[in-house]
């Protein structure tokens, strides 16, 4: 889901650009400093490959079809830092040439898909890529990469005050879950195809790492969920819709989590407080992404 310009509130796009783009710059510098120079053509051509692969449709059942998104596949084959750079390049070309996603919204899209998406696509493979859970890990990576990107995009839109009523939210989450499952299946099938071709391009998962990384990663995922919750508690639009449909009680039951209620009492129920809380959540996620990016970049340098 590429967010166009004109959708995000100023603090949101400004903040996400300020946080996301320097991080990509950092990753790019790391990739440049620590890799063989063959990386430049390799990353560029593999970016073109993902573009082309996105045009190949995967038929599933009656008349429906999907296509590869590719961040998990890239993360598994090229490593997460390189994959983040390639996905950023893809998003830049999409924004400039294809008007798919905005220029001011580039930071948001890069965070959603090139940083969080790649990370979510890589972590399961990193942890369980060896042994009997290998296929499940690859599937989970593809699944998580799409779902995390979509959920973050929805959170940013809600944070910007774009009304997304409960019904629409649940329908779109259900659709994204289906798309995400499809991405998982496609990623597994393509990695399987690569292995049948007898070419061991898929990076071997790294040997058991200290638990720190796992804990930080899980915390990041958890915090992402919390950030979405904070964003979702912001009442405008949602309540109007609920009131109009007489669904207020129902919607409240759906949306009130203990945490959300706590935040309401703690911060007061004003819109600003909610937005600040959401932004804080996203900021923490950024911090964690930067930490993880550093770790990956350092390991890539060995």
């Amino acid at each position: 889901m590429h967010i166009p310009d004109g959708f995000l509130a100023t603090p949101v796009w400004l903040g996400l650009n300020a946080a996301g783009l320097p991080l990509v710059g950092y990753l790019a510098r790391q990739a440049q400093r620590h890799s063989q120079e063959s990386r430049v053509p390799l990353l560029g051509v593999m970016g073109a490959f993902v573009f082309a692969a996105q045009m190949i449709n995967f038929p599933v059942g009656v008349g429906a079809s999907g296509h590869l998104v590719g961040s998990a596949l890239l993360a598994i084959t090229l490593g997460p830092a390189a994959a983040a750079v390639v996905m950023t390049a893809i998003l830049a070309i999409q924004a400039l040439i294809f008007q798919d996603g905005g220029v001011l919204a580039l930071g948001a899209n890069v965070l959603n898909m090139a940083l969080a998406g790649v990370l979510a696509g890589y972590l399961p493979y990193h942890w369980w890529g060896e042994g009997r859970f290998r296929r499940a890990a690859i599937f989970l990576g593809g699944f998580a990469s799409v779902l995390v990107g979509a959920v973050l995009a929805i959170a940013e839109l809600r944070l910007s005050g774009v009304p997304i009523p409960a019904a629409v939210l649940w329908v779109s989450l259900a659709l994204f879950t289906v798309t995400a499952a499809l991405e998982g299946a496609i990623t597994v099938a393509v990695v399987g195809g690569l292995e049948r071709l007898g070419i061991g391009l898929a990076r071997q998962p790294v040997e058991a790492r200290p638990r720190g990384l796992a804990v930080v990663g899980l915390a990041a995922v958890l915090l992402a969920a919390v950030g979405v919750l904070f964003a979702s508690t912001y009442p405008d639009g949602l309540e109007k819709m609920a009131q109009a449909l007489g669904l207020e009680e129902h919607a409240r039951a759906l949306y009130s989590t203990p945490l959300a209620d706590y935040s309401l009492r703690w911060l007061g129920s004003s819109w600003t407080a909610q937005a600040v809380a959401g932004l804080l959540g996203l900021t923490v996620i950024f911090g964690l992404l930067i930490l993880l990016g550093r770790m990956f970049a350092r390991r890539g340098s060995r």
Binding site: D5, G6, F7, T10, V24, G25, A28, R29, A31, Q32, E37, S38, V40, P41, L42, L43, G44, V45, M46, G47, A48, F49, F51, A52, A53, M55, I56, N57, F58, P59, L73, V85, V86, A89, A92, I93, L96, I97, F98, Q99, G102, V103, L104, V162, P163, A185, I186, A189, V190, V191, G192, G193, L194, R196, L197, L201, G237, K240, M241, A244
Partner: protein, 236 residues
């Protein structure tokens, strides 16, 4: 491939083509920020922004209908959210979503339509975007159409052999992956053979002269006027 049309446009000889890339990028960002931060779009705002974008497209001698049509690719996304906003009773926001995203897309299109990608990337490097990332973008664009055609050929070949199933598609993507990987290595070897040593010389950027600075100044004044003019008393 129809996207080659941008390459065709960007090599034209309009007034905007001759201006410095960095100046054009700065003006585009100023315009995008102005559009994005306008709190309540008035008719005067919208008319001002639209006339500016259209005038820029005309200065770049871009075909207006084609520009307007290509920018419309944002509309399905915007219209969906606009419809939801309407249902939620927020018609102001619905209009803003559609108008802002469309105007922004058209503005980006005008910039890309009057600046070849190589010069655009060179200008971005001057604006401190990491060269490594820009090189990746450049390589990506260079091989985009080639590999896309390869993908189409593979699909066509599979179809003509009678059928297209999930497994076949996965095999095709895996095959494409391996071919692309091999191509990248071939490209790299060719570059080494021509003396590549890890540093790539991008197109030399012509220095901005007084006309570019004047253009920047006028552009910034115009954008500021558009951003704040809508709130001035004489337009109410």
């Amino acid at each position: 491939m129809h996207h080659a049309v941008l390459d065709h446009w960007s090599r034209g000889r309009g007034v905007l083509h001759a201006r410095d890339g960095q100046v054009k990028i700065l003006l585009l960002i100023a315009l995008l920020i102005a559009v994005a931060t306008t709190p309540r779009l008035t008719a005067a705002n919208v008319a001002g922004y639209a006339i500016t974008v259209l005038a820029a497209a005309a200065l770049a001698r871009l075909p207006l209908p084609a520009v307007l049509l290509r920018a419309a690719v944002v509309l399905p996304f915007s219209a969906t959210f606009a419809a939801v906003s309407l249902l939620a009773g927020d018609s102001q926001r619905a209009a803003a979503l559609v108008l802002k995203s469309y105007l922004s897309a058209a503005a980006v299109l005008v910039l890309v339509g009057c600046t070849p990608l190589a010069r655009l990337l060179r200008a971005l490097e001057g604006l401190r975007v990491p060269r490594f990332l820009l090189l990746v973008v450049q390589f990506l664009y260079r091989y985009l159409f080639l590999i896309s055609e390869q993908a189409q050929h593979m699909r066509l070949a599979a179809l003509s052999r009678g059928g297209w199933r999930f497994r076949l598609a996965a095999g095709a993507v895996a095959n494409l992956f391996v071919r692309s990987y091999a191509r990248a290595e071939g490209v790299h070897r060719a570059m080494l053979a021509r003396g590549f040593q890890g540093e790539t010389v991008l197109l030399a950027a012509p220095r901005a002269d007084w006309r570019d600075w004047l253009f920047l100044l006028c552009g910034l004044v115009l954008v500021t006027a558009l951003r704040f003019g809508g709130e001035a008393p004489w337009t109410r």
